[in-house]
């Protein structure tokens, strides 16, 4: 496991986020300001501000229905935001489609697993490599040398990526036949295959036992260290969030109620109230 985030060394700018020390001289990878979306009369997310450093692991937590997944859907433009802006690596993402957002550098996993279940594990990863392969449909049909070269490279790259989770032995299995935990890991590999600069993980530890979760934590840190990317994760497992997230953002009813390091969040009365309710008589 990589060195734990040291609170003492942190310089608390910009005020609304936590950026690891090593990222301070660089521009942030993601900047959301005043982001919001309405579904009819319901303000699902309102005035959401978040900045994430280039190699930061950030956590997004909150009670059920707080709007965490909605934030992911806004970042990846599954929903177009009603208000606010999202800057990715300094570029405005307004008007982009989900596919364009991915090409700009955001990859994600899903809370309810969305694999290409009839394709093999390897093909799932190769779909992730889609935009790194550059041959046309005609080249593919005619099987020109370029096809063989790029397919060979994609095959090797896919196995290499699968080896992060030690899954290269499963490459030829059908994705839908994998056990639950492996499906979750495959989703992460597929997202990584798109060569992102920001990885969004929606409840990566859901349905995993404590030892699997511990392994996942190590792997998330390993991924960040090897690929030098930022990670934003939604998770209900507090051990995971408090263990690896350098900055944590707490949502409730679509609004940010707290931001800070794990210690700050744990001590924050608003967070405790959101999760446990008000103390009687106070």
């Amino acid at each position: 496991m990589a060195k734990k985030f040291e609170k003492g060394k942190m310089v608390p700018v910009p005020s609304h986020s936590i950026i690891p020390e090593r990222d301070l001289d660089k521009s942030p990878i993601l900047e959301c300001s005043h982001l919001g979306i309405d579904f009819g009369g319901l303000r699902a997310v309102d005035d959401f501000n978040l900045t994430i450093g280039r190699t930061e692991i950030a956590g997004l937590i909150g009670p059920n229905g707080a709007g965490k997944t909605t934030v992911f859907n806004l970042l990846t433009k599954v929903y177009q935001p009603t208000r606010g802006t999202i800057l990715l690596d300094g570029f405005d993402t307004s008007g982009k489609t989900t596919a364009q957002i991915n090409r700009m550098g955001i990859a994600r996993t899903f809370q309810n697993i969305r694999l290409f279940s009839n394709l093999s594990v390897e093909d799932n990863v190769k779909v992730g490599l889609h935009n790194q392969e550059k041959y046309s449909a005609l080249t593919g049909v005619l099987r020109l040398p370029k096809y063989w070269r790029q397919e060979k490279a994609a095959h090797e790259r896919a196995l290499e990526l699968l080896s992060i989770f030690d899954m290269q032995g499963l490459a030829s299995h059908k994705a839908g036949s994998l056990p639950y935990g492996a499906q979750r890991r495959l989703e992460i590999v597929r997202a990584l295959a798109t060569n992102p600069s920001l990885l969004l993980l929606d409840e990566p530890a859901a349905g995993m036992n404590p030892s699997e979760t511990a392994e996942l934590m190590e792997n998330i840190v390993k991924i960040r260290d090897t690929f030098q990317i930022a990670v934003l994760l939604i998770e209900h497992d507090m051990n995971l969030v408090m263990g690896i997230c350098e900055g944590i953002c707490v949502l409730n009813f679509g609004r940010v109620i707290a931001k800070g390091t794990s210690e700050e969040i744990q001590a924050n009365p608003a967070v405790i109230e959101a999760y446990l309710g008000k103390k009687r008589g106070s």
Partner: protein, 374 residues
Amino acid sequence: MKKQTKPASVKKPDGTLKRYFKNMKTATKVDYATYLGVILAFAVVMACQSAGLLNRQVTGMLVPICCYICMAVSLNLTVGILGELSLGHAGFMSVGAFSGIVASMSLGFTGAGDVVRLVAAIAIGAVVAAIAGVIVGVPVLRLRGDYLAIVTLAFGEIIKELINCLLVGFDENGLHIRFNYDGNSVMGDLGLTENGVEIIKGAQGAAGNEKLSTFVAGFVLVMITLIVVLNLVRSRTGRAVMAIRDNRIAAESVGINVTKYKLTAFVVSAALAGAAGGLYGLNFSSLASTTFDFNASILVLVYVVLGGLGNIWGSIVATVVLYALPEALRGFDDLRMLVYAIVLILVMLATHNERLRALLAKVLPRRKGAAVHG
């Protein structure tokens, strides 16, 4: 890591060719087996034909079977690989057939050779059908849901009616086209010169065609269709198309342009149907647009569904069997279609049978993944 991971099994290096075959993916093996099967079937039929074992009824079916194999394989690209229901595939065949006839007759007027005319008919049929595919696909494939089924259904009917009203002729001055929308025009209105040929005569369709299609041409077209579809499926484009079928949202999230790949698959499918139409049109001395009605589209869909969605060799086998079946059932006379329906139901029941499936699983190359448990 968990124990689910099996170490890659070590293979003994026993001969390069054997090892090459062992390391081949199951999908690749199935592809090669499909090609091999088609070539073998072609060789057997050719041998029987030269030995005089085939009667006229069977020889007459050879080219249509090749056409319908191309239709079924190309429809499988839309329905099985892309996962969109198309109910107007015969419409593309119709477009290909009539544009092919126009091309071949026009070239015949200029005195081109038979092979050139046949190839031109197939190529132009494919191109025109591809254009029709773009016209239908661009607005519809942007939508989500069953709109493609509705629009292709309408497309098939519209094409049928349009060709019903079409008068086409060719002479020294080039192509003469007249759209007989009020039903009062006759071929004379085209103003052809004495040497001119009448190609499409409205509701009568195309008559007086020269039969240029041959079984060899049919075989070549089947092989081309197979190569296009199978190679497309095993390429980056095919993976993107199948990813869209399996999960559109996830496909978008990994940066796949959904509309582009849906359109690619649909247009390739339409073009191949047009090529099949081009061959089909030149197999008959007369052809009316009513040949390519809704029933024809459903017939091809039946081949695809019974052959298995996404299963290319299944489509081929289903087409051959189900095309030959009604002919073989001629002895039943009026009850023919009833028996046909019963056979279809029996096939469905049989392929759903546990024992039969277990038997097939033993014979066919084992699908990997079935044995993995959590």
